[in-house]
Each structure stands twice: as C-alpha cells, then as structure tokens.
Symmetry: C2
Subunit: 414 residues, 2 copies
Amino acid sequence: MTVEMISVGTEILLGNIVNTNAAYLAEKCALLGLSCYYQSVVGDNEERLEDAIRLGLSRSDILILSGGLGPTKDDLTKEVTAKVFGRELYEDAHTKERIQQYFRQVHSSQVTPNNWKQALVPEGAKVVDNHNGTAPGLILEENGKIAILLPGPPNEIKPMFEQDIAPYLNKLQPEGIYSKMAKICSIGESKAETMISDLMDAQTNPTIAPYAKTGEVHLRVTAKADSEEKAQELMAPMMEELFQRFGDKIYTTEEDVTLEEAIVRMLEADGMTVTTAESCTGGLLAGRITNVPGASNVYKEGYITYSNDAKERLLHVKRETLMQHGAVSPQTAYEMAEGVAFAAGADASLSITGIAGPGGGTEEKPVGLVYIGCYVKGHVRVEEFYFTGNRDKNREYAVARALTLLREELLERR
Amino acid sequence: MTVEMISVGTEILLGNIVNTNAAYLAEKCALLGLSCYYQSVVGDNEERLEDAIRLGLSRSDILILSGGLGPTKDDLTKEVTAKVFGRELYEDAHTKERIQQYFRQVHSSQVTPNNWKQALVPEGAKVVDNHNGTAPGLILEENGKIAILLPGPPNEIKPMFEQDIAPYLNKLQPEGIYSKMAKICSIGESKAETMISDLMDAQTNPTIAPYAKTGEVHLRVTAKADSEEKAQELMAPMMEELFQRFGDKIYTTEEDVTLEEAIVRMLEADGMTVTTAESCTGGLLAGRITNVPGASNVYKEGYITYSNDAKERLLHVKRETLMQHGAVSPQTAYEMAEGVAFAAGADASLSITGIAGPGGGTEEKPVGLVYIGCYVKGHVRVEEFYFTGNRDKNREYAVARALTLLREELLERR
C-alpha cells in the first residue's frame, strides 16, 4: 500500500518552522512497510488544499494530513477533507466532553467558544482521542482510499500516531511489520556496514538497515509476520547474530534509550558515580548526562575549566604540565581526568580539552584536535581525536566520543 | 511572483533526514517577496519527478529543485528537468575544469569517472559555480517559467543561494526586497506583538513581522525598493520607532548574532568576567555561553552542582539554607549566585536551581519550578519561574531566561 503526507500550514511554506512531522510520519510509515512516493505542503487555503487532497487520493492509497485542525477560522483541513469525501460535519458528544475535561485539567479554565469547532467531526469518521490537546484525530475511509487527519503539534501527533494510528495501519495489511533496534557505539559507520554487508545482501525477512548517528550506528531489524509473536521468532536469530558480531558494542536494543541513559543505568547498577571536567565543550557533556531523568543518582557535580588557572586550582593539573605540553595535550587531559575524580570524590570521570574553532588552531595543534581522558577506578585512558567540522559539530562529536570512551572503560574495569 | 520547492530524494520520503532545505529556501524566498503556495518531495524516480516538475511549472512561476544532482545513476534531477524543457545535455568545459580543481584541492585525489556526469549541463542553462562541492547549480528559463536546480547538501546549497541565487531572484522583480532584524529579549511574544500591532495594521512598505523564539522575539522589517540605499531609507524610521518602543530590550540588529554572543560582547566591552552554577540545567547554560567563539575571554570556569554537598563545598551555600528552604528555593539560588562569583573570582554570575522533571515535583514545588540568581558587582537578583514543558523544554527555557536576566542586570549596573 502507498501512503502520502500532506502537511497543512502557512508557517511551513514561509519557512518559519521545519517540517519535522513529515520526517516523523515518513519514518514510521516506512517501518510499517508502507511505500511513500510523495510528500507535499500546502497553506491554509481552501482551494489549494482541496486540489492537494484530490491529487493525493488519485495517486496514493492512504493520505496522512497533519495540521489545520485548530480552533480558528483559518484551520480548514477537516472541513475541506469532509467536502472531498462528501460528508457533513456533526458535533460529536464524546469529543465535546473530552475537550471540556481537557480544559478543566490542563488550563483550569473554561473552554473558549471557538474550541467547540474542534468537536465537529465528519459523518462516518473514526474519532481518535487526543490525550495531549483538544483536536481529535480523524480517519475517513471510502472506496479503498483512506484519509487520516492528525493535529500539527509534534507533542500531539507523536503519541497519537504511536498509540492509535500505527496499530490501525498495521491492521490494514495482510502482514504486520515489527522491528527491533540494536544501537551500537565504539565502531564507525562504514566498518559497521561492512560487518553486516553479507546480512544485508542476503536479507529477505527480516531485513536489516543501518542508520548513522553522531558517533553511533543504529541497526534496525524489521520483520513482516501475521502476529507479533511470529515476527519476534523471525527476528530472534538475526538479533542473536548481531550480538555475536558486535557483542557489548550494542549498548541497547530499546528504541528510546540514549547512550547517556545506558551509561547512567550502568553506573547505577554498579553503584558508581561520575563527574566531568570540560574545557572546549564547556558544559555540553554534563548537559547531556544530566538530560537523563534521575542522573542525580550518579552525577553529583562537574567542572567547566576554560582557563589554565581553573585547571590548576580546581583540578590540580600541574603548572609544569600546562607550561610544557599546553592546555590541549594528552598530559593535561590525563591530569584533568584524575584531578576531577579526586575533586568530586567520584568513582569515574571524563575530561575534554581541545580546540573547537574557528580560532585558536596552529599548525601543530589544528582546529578539531581534542583530547579526552577517562578515569575509572584508578586507571586513566586518554584518546586523541581530529574532528573536521565547525565549532558546533566538533563539540557535539567530542561529547559523543567521550560518552563512548566512558562506556568502554566501565565495561573494561567491571 | 510565485515560487515552489521540489525536494528530490528517497531519503526524505523514508524519513531518514528532515527536509531542512525546504525550510531554508522557503524563508529566504519569503524574504525576497516571493509567494510560496506549494512544497513537494519526490524520490529519485524519473516518471514521478517529471510529473512533479510539470505540475509545478503549471502552477508556479519559479521552481526550485534541490537534490538529485549527484554523480550516480540514481541522480536524475538535471536529466529530467532538461527533458521537460526540451534541452540536450553537453559537457561544460568550465565546470569540468572546476570539478578537477575541486578534487585536487579538497580530496588531493583524482576525479572518479562518474563525477564527469556532473560536468554535463542543459543547453542554454546558466551555470552557477559550486564552491563547496562538485555539482554546479543550474538555471533554466523558458516562456516566463524558471527552474533552478540546486545541490542537496545544506553546506553547498546555502552559500550558493546566498551568493548567486538570491541576487538572481531579486533582479527578476521590479523592486528588490531588503530586510533588517530587531532581536528582542526581556519581553513576551504576545506583549511584543501588542506593542507593534498598530505598526502591523498600518504596514505597507516597509512591513514588519514577529517571530517567536525560545525566550525571545525577533522582529523582521522588510522593505521593497529599487536600490538597497532606498530600502535602508524606508526602513530607518521603522527601526527608529522600534528602538523608541523597545529601547535596550533590542539586543541586536544583526541577523546572525545570538543572545549569548551579544552578552559575551557586552562583557568583553566592560572588561568583565562571568561564571555559572547550575543544578537542573546541568551544564547547558555554560554550554550555550561557551558556544560563542572567543567566550574564553569572559568565561574562565563554571560549576555543575547537582548535590547539596557540592553546593555547600564548592559554592559555600549554607547548610541551614538547604535544610530550611531546600535546594530549590530563592535563598539557595541567591547563595549559589553569590558563592560561585566568589569561588571563580568573577565579576558576574548566574545560578540555576529547579525541578526539570519528569520526577521530583511536589505539590508545593511542582515540576517546572525554577529559581535563577544573577550576581553583578555585589548585587544579587533572584527570579522565580514556572515552566510547563517537558524536561528538555524546561531546561531550554531556564537557560534562555538566565541569559536574559544576566543581560538585564549588566545593563542595570553599568
């Protein structure tokens, strides 16, 4: 079956917002085995929206429209889709009640009169409750064609898609699509691809696809089967094969677990604490670790030491080291890692010192040169990196590499 | 004139990448006064691409196609567009020479044979040099319709658009479009809009448009004129009016200056240093300040103090304060700000303590409660905030508010 996304919103046409909904929906639909040949964007304009819907229905089995379900007169998606399907709108009592409850809970206020427009639904449409907003999702079916209307805000569309739309789409097909993830660090994208090229060449059911992320590779294994149980059976040997090949470089098989979360959970399990000493990344590493809910169990404090004085005073890096080797040197990274673990009384630590750019580079120490130190249980390891991006990218990659290094050392010294 | 974007690439249809090019092109075209009613995405498929181009030419004056100009057989944008325009391809000697040079400089290697495909251009097309890659940009004109073909990678398309395509599009119109920016902090979006509603109602030339950003509002003033000088003359009274109304809440009129950069430049000008003590934001504030190239002139060190122990030991927050009022309290924020300025020997400081969520909230101190302290020259100010987002959003807003508070205090105590 084919699916087509129509994003409705003048703010997308003006470039005020990036169309992340289309990418989200496209990825999810691909996972469900639906083929997507077109995406389009139209503004809040009756005539052009009607044309887009008619064109979409003429060439795709399923249309997913997002946006334009708001309470204002500008919001036309529901009205125009109902017109194309030849349906009248009526007030849905269930939705009216839900909107009322939503306002009571979230806004502690009365429903504004124009919100009642959102309780109007096309005759014969399936109504999908919105647990994070007022506009319901709507599904219209006719002559083998389907239109799915979803709200625009990402925090509304995503849970609605996961909970109700994905299962609905999965049921439309003779076989459902199920997938598992193996997220990998400590290994580059091309090497990882080479290591699974035979699996990719031989793939039928399940299939396997690599996705490159900053400092990580995610492998998605996807199976078609008429039940989730059978799909799991199909995927199990492939997952086992991946564990054979990548071993503990697979840090999680959970879709929504990040590398930093995997590390925080490892530290928790081992009853260990970690701290950080950052120069060129200036707090971004700490920011990523502390983005994990509950990070405070393992992360108590951290230091940003830009100046040599701060490195000496807070981390007890030796002045001779700084004078002889410079702030960006393996020796300094070593002493920072050791010093910060001591200063914070932590079981493990990471240190980062480097030249993020655009200025500050020399022939000997170019922009992109970064040293990362990792202390675990009395042992320090230092790694050298040459990143080739701009300031932002170099900082982002340094943080990713640091997390990977910590994970490796935690595994090594367990 | 109307413009339509066609993004070519299967990776967009699969949701592997977000279509940031479309947002970039849409914003730039809106700035140039072009009306955009449609955007679409098609894959690397000859038939569907041809349909999309014909449809686009039937309803818009200018088509901007991005992607599909690569060296592989899958890359079809140029071939299909040439077919629609009835043009043959020939090898462009200038482009061939440029590709050769590019390879020599960037790859220190030989051109791979399939790259010569990128030297083929449609008869009569304008060739736009690519200074950041091999595929040239191409412009085809016929019967008042225009197709502009641009490479897909953002680091190639953006400089090409700025340098060559924007001036080309601006010349097509009887009057050019020029704009200026006023970036505002310390004032909410709705208040800012109210304060300019009379200007917006009365707008003709120049026009004014507000854009809401996290903790900021950006006002863009746009004028149409037949020269940049005349446009500047038209915009000057409006910019003056905005300064009358918003005064020093306008932190910059430069397109690419961020709030943190404006603050770093203020501190540099005043010969002051700043430091940070973060609890719930865990390094993100420091990370944002140190994202400014040259931040090391004013930012020497910073502290992440998650635990009470760290707050006491590193920032000298009193144990009684923590016991009596808690870690998330105005008193603690006050002592953190004062203590970190002292610890770092800095002239100014920011402190953040709060409950980012999802856990940790109580009835009295709910998720989203954040206290921000700011120390400048012996004076401490503490502000209370209730943010209503998820963990990420609460942290992002706290950082934005902290920067705004610092700027206010720096202005106040100058």
